[in-house]
Amino acid sequence: MSKITRRQAVGAVTGTAAGLALVGVASAWADSTPAEGGKNKAAPPGGNGGPVAFDEVFQGRRIQGEPLEGAAAHARGHAGHGSPFRVLIDGRELHVMHHGKSGWSSAINHYERFASPLETARTAVTTLKGASVVPFNPTV
């Protein structure tokens, strides 16, 4: 696939509001290295689908994400704020949440918003500096 920078990938999946929220993210990326061997696809521009699945190695950590469907999504009792999407960092679940137009966040980066689960996972990896996620979800 053609090489795509992270900033371009974000641009492809964000609307104006989310783009504004990512100013700080872009500056934090300026001195980081590109993702290794990513095989992710940005959501089609203007598409109305949810975030797409991903599976890549980012800064030495395997990050995976997939939409939850059917019973798995239903079991989480999402009432409009939770996310029918599962993210793993080295196989351990990173609790992510979707907040409508303002974007995504996680238990690791709770006071920011991201354009997609992929950016949420990558930022968590950067934040952890080698530590592992301790899954916590009292409603599952």
Binding site: A21, A28, A107, V134, P138
Partner: protein, 274 residues
């Protein structure tokens, strides 16, 4: 009567009394109950769709009650102690005295963001991180890493000038004083930005693991009081009632069974700000 003071004005003895009380509340296990309550509230809010602790109008009264409860625990150890406030518009750099070893200690080391000095450094043995969302057992910070600056006085004044407390849809997409102060109207701003500027646990749902959490929220709470003084004819809290999935003025705020936003409006029955 409890008087909350600007941390920059504390005497050496006052700093020591505050730190010693915090360490003792930690030692007896009570501190971690507060961290766990914050983590649980965040997770439940996200999954139930009722934003009680954050991203909704009850952000301010919920944290007011949370601080009152914590302050009561400190005062069981030392009745002279109150929660200082940190005016991050003034003491706004890594060199500010709040980060000195006689109060909170400084930024983390590059390797893993571990705080290495002050009373809460992991090496001191008194501040293990027990309530976690990741495996870091030590207090972590990276001051100014994610965002280079803290909110300015001009930004605070602009928020204080907003005459309306909050508005529909009563969320992070709302217009009004609450969402502007919380920092949800423009992410990486105001209250949210301060959490992110500090980094480490302060960026996570277990943010009370960093004692600066209390000083930060004491200032946020003071700004709510300041706002009310500037707008005495504005409703101090909204919405007033019958709003689905939103904490109204007289709704109970979990986890408490007898605390409503209304019951939190007059802070002077609990403490004042100096």
């Amino acid at each position: 009567m409890t008087v909350r003071k600007n941390q920059a004005n504390l005497t050496a003895a006052e700093k020591k009394a505050f730190v010693d009380a915090v360490l003792e509340v930690k030692r007896i296990g009570v501190y971690d109950e507060f961290v766990a309550a914050h983590r649980l509230r965040f997770a439940l809010d996200m999954n139930t769709g009722v934003y009680v602790g954050h991203f909704g109008p009850s952000f301010l009264p919920w944290h007011r009650k949370f601080l009152i409860d914590f302050e009561n625990e400190l005062q069981k150890i030392d009745a002279s102690v109150s929660i200082p406030y940190w005016d991050w518009t003034v003491d706004n750099s890594v060199a500010s005295s709040i980060w000195a070893p006689d109060l909170l200690g400084g930024t983390g080391r590059p390797l893993d963001d571990q705080v290495m000095d002050g009373p809460f450094a992991y090496s001191g043995g008194k501040w293990p991180i027990n309530i976690q969302v990741d495996t870091r057992p030590f207090l972590a910070r990276n001051l100014g890493y994610r965002v280079p600056t803290l909110p300015t006085r001009a930004q605070v004044d602009a928020a204080l000038a907003i005459p309306t407390y909050d508005s529909a849809p009563w969320s992070d997409a709302s217009a009004g004083f609450r969402s502007t102060l919380e920092g949800t109207a423009s992410y990486m701003s105001m209250h949210n930005r301060v959490h992110t500027w500090i980094w480490g646990q302060m960026e996570t749902s277990v943010s009370p693991n960093d004692p600066v959490f209390w000083l930060h929220h004491s200032f946020v709470d003071k700004l709510w009081a300041d706002w009310h003084a500037l707008h005495p004819t504005s409703a101090e809290y909204l919405p007033a009632g019958t709003t689905p999935n939103v904490i109204d003025l007289n709704d109970t705020m979990p986890p408490w069974t007898n605390t409503t936003p209304q019951s939190m409006l007059d802070h002077t029955q609990f403490y004042t700000y100096a």
